[in-house]
Amino acid sequence: MIVKRFYLFAGAAAVALTGVSGTALAQKFDREVHIAGFGAKSGVVRSFGVNTEGMMRAAADKINAGGGIKLGDGKMGKVVVTFYDDRCRAEEGISVIRRIASGKFVVAVGPTCSNVAEPLFGILQKTVDDKSDSGLQFPIFTDTAIKGGLAKISAWAFRNVPNETEMYKNLFAWVKKKWPNLKTVYGGVEEDFAHSRFTWYKVMDKQAKAAGFKVLGRAKWLLADTNFTTQVRAMKKAKADIISISSHPFTLCGLLKEMRRQRVKYKVLIGLTSSSSMETLQGCARQAKGIIIPTSFAPVTAAAKEASAGGAKYKASADLHSAAAWENMMVLKQVMESKGVMAKAGTIQADRRKIRDGLAALKNTQGLIGSIKRHKSGEATKPFVYVHAQGKEWKILHDPNK
């Protein structure tokens, strides 16, 4: 795998260096609609950027194959995606969004990291038409950065990420119903990763208690930790019925392996929605067996399967994060068509405003696995299913909508 990737990477490098530029405008389109994507394509969470970019391109291909976007004057626009790397660092994210806002782009999809999204939304104008606020007026439709409540920072920020509070509220209630004799929960949290931390303290912990469970304690570790003996020992002593872990695959696997080594006994294992990814299965499929995770993406519908296949062409895997990028593209097409975006050189600022207003006015959109409810705050409530790790893949355990 490493070796293969390396060749790929070398090939990509050669292509990039020889300066192959974008494709020529095909005859049947009248204009181009530029959508920017941005996120981490280098550094630890490079896979987020790779997957998001692939899914965006796949979605653009699908839109273009269907004739493109119908513009305000009846002409057809071709969707063109440009993707920028922000290395998952706040200052670079700000730089990238300024670059995007200075260009021909009508909207941006990104970023992939919560710690970029938060400062980024901070530089946007807080309320629309507030003359005293000099913030950037540019619509952003986030797919991956998932930490709770970010979109309310600005009226220009929208997210299509799952509402974790809903997901875990539902999950704990379901667990309570299904195994009525389970009483206690022990947590695990990756303390220095914004999303993991938020989800444990503000979501899992609260929802577990709300569902009537007793939270006995929590194990804490850091993103860079490799040794979990002490934490797991405390976890073992607590003898909780349910173990609920809020962490990314990087440390989830290490922790699960240590739990197995120390033979920690539990009845139910719950994971963070972000860890329902390929990494977990590649890293520790055996130890993660049975872990229950709520996720807003699984290839259960025809649309989801199609999106998955489309992303595969770009070597992107569709997961709960990147699938949102596909959905975002489809939603944007719908918004642009209903609002009559012109995609002319002189209409960029007006187009952006139309897209913002369009996104703000949406109440419902069609997602890959069902209907997505949109809120005034810019956030969404997405349908979700519970999956569990079985062998080399995620299988649907339960679909709360049915």
């Binding site: 795998m1 490493i2 070796v3 990737r5 390396f6 990477f9 280098s42 550094g43 630890v44 969470v45 490079r46 896979s47 790779v50 303390e191 220095d192 804490k220 570790w221 850091l222 993103l223 860079a224 930790d225 490799t226 040794n227 003996t229 002490t230 934490q231 020992r233 695959p249 990087f250 696997c253 290490g254 392996k257 080594r261 120390q262 033979r263 390929m278 990494e279 590649q282 890293g283 520790c284």
Partner: protein, 302 residues
């Protein structure tokens, strides 16, 4: 009993720090310079062994037996260390240590990103071959006290590797040359020792050790994830080197075990978020009261 357990766990994991610390200290001892890319290059060696294992498969009909993985990693570690020597030390000015320092930082960043590109930043499963040595991965002495078999194995291998290194240093002509260059470079030259060759050899030895350490750490952790492991381990390795005394191999070993035990105790007392703060404090205590470290010589000169 909890604290005994925490100390024992920490001591065992401290062997990892000790191995990294030995590499830093060996190179520092000979060249009086820090090789910031040491840990990165060592882990790159472990990645090579993993890459080869992914191609030919592990243990299968034509697959790699586990010890071959370690060997491959050690060899690759040596090769990378030599490359680091060439690009960061061989041609940079000798008396201007900033140049080699910056070059190794550049290499650290580059190696880090190369692995990210090769793996998409995804963690790579490293076969936990050390676990197979004991039937049960844990040696349970009682309900309260247990030792991880693979960590114990790593600890033992680390001790053996260190003894081997000491044998090379104190019983071979190569070791004589290495010590001579470390202690008095000009006199070593006058005795006919080629300083550049000795430096390069020391790098290779440290790299072989590092490659071995990288593979064993991979096997113990079960995962290789460059970006998350390398910089933290580089920092811990440097701290161990200073605490042990720059250039002192016994110092690196004792320092490594000490830091391992110390941080685990503070993890148990104060929690993970404050743990590293106390490790830094330990370093500052040393800098203030014993700047030469545990086994260092006299004054701290650059």
């Amino acid at each position: 009993m909890d604290y005994v357990q925490a100390i024992v766990d920490g001591l065992l994991f401290g062997a990892v720090y000790a191995l990294i610390g030995i590499g830093f200290t060996l190179i520092f001892g000979v060249m009086n310079k820090i090789n910031m890319a040491y840990a990165a290059a060592s882990f790159a060696g472990a990645y090579v062994s993993l890459g080869i294992a992914q191609v030919v498969g592990l243990s299968g009909d034509f697959g790699l037996p586990p010890f071959v993985m370690f060997l491959v990693s050690a060899v690759a570690g040596g090769v990378f260390a030599y490359i680091v020597y060439l690009i960061c030390f061989r041609f940079t000015p000798d008396h201007y240590e900033l140049a080699s320092l910056m070059a190794t930082i550049g290499t650290l960043l580059m190696v880090d990103e190369m692995v990210v590109q090769a793996t998409n930043g995804e963690p790579q499963n490293y076969p936990e071959v050390l676990q197979g040595i004991f039937d049960n991965p844990m040696l349970e002495f009682s309900e309260e006290f247990a030792i991880r078999g693979d960590l114990l194995t790593l600890f033992i291998v680390a001790v053996i590797a260190t003894l081997g290194l000491l044998w090379v240093l104190f019983r071979t002509k190569l070791g004589l040359a290495t010590r001579a260059v470390a202690q008095q470079r000009m006199a070593a030259q006058l005795c006919g020792i080629r300083v550049d060759r000795t430096n390069a050899t020391t790098f290779v030895i440290a790299g072989v050790l590092g490659g071995l350490a990288g593979a064993m750490i991979g096997a113990v952790v079960g995962t290789l994830l460059q970006s998350l492991v390398v910089i933290p381990l580089t920092i811990k390795g440097l701290i161990v080197t200073v605490i042990g005394g720059l250039g002192s191999i016994p110092g690196a070993i004792v320092g490594g075990l000490m830091v391992g035990a110390f941080e685990n105790v503070f993890l148990a007392i104060r929690g993970v978020t404050e743990r590293d703060m106390y490790v830094m404090l330990l370093l500052f205590v040393f800098l203030a009261f014993r700047p030469q470290g545990l086994f260092g010589r006299v004054a701290v000169r650059d």
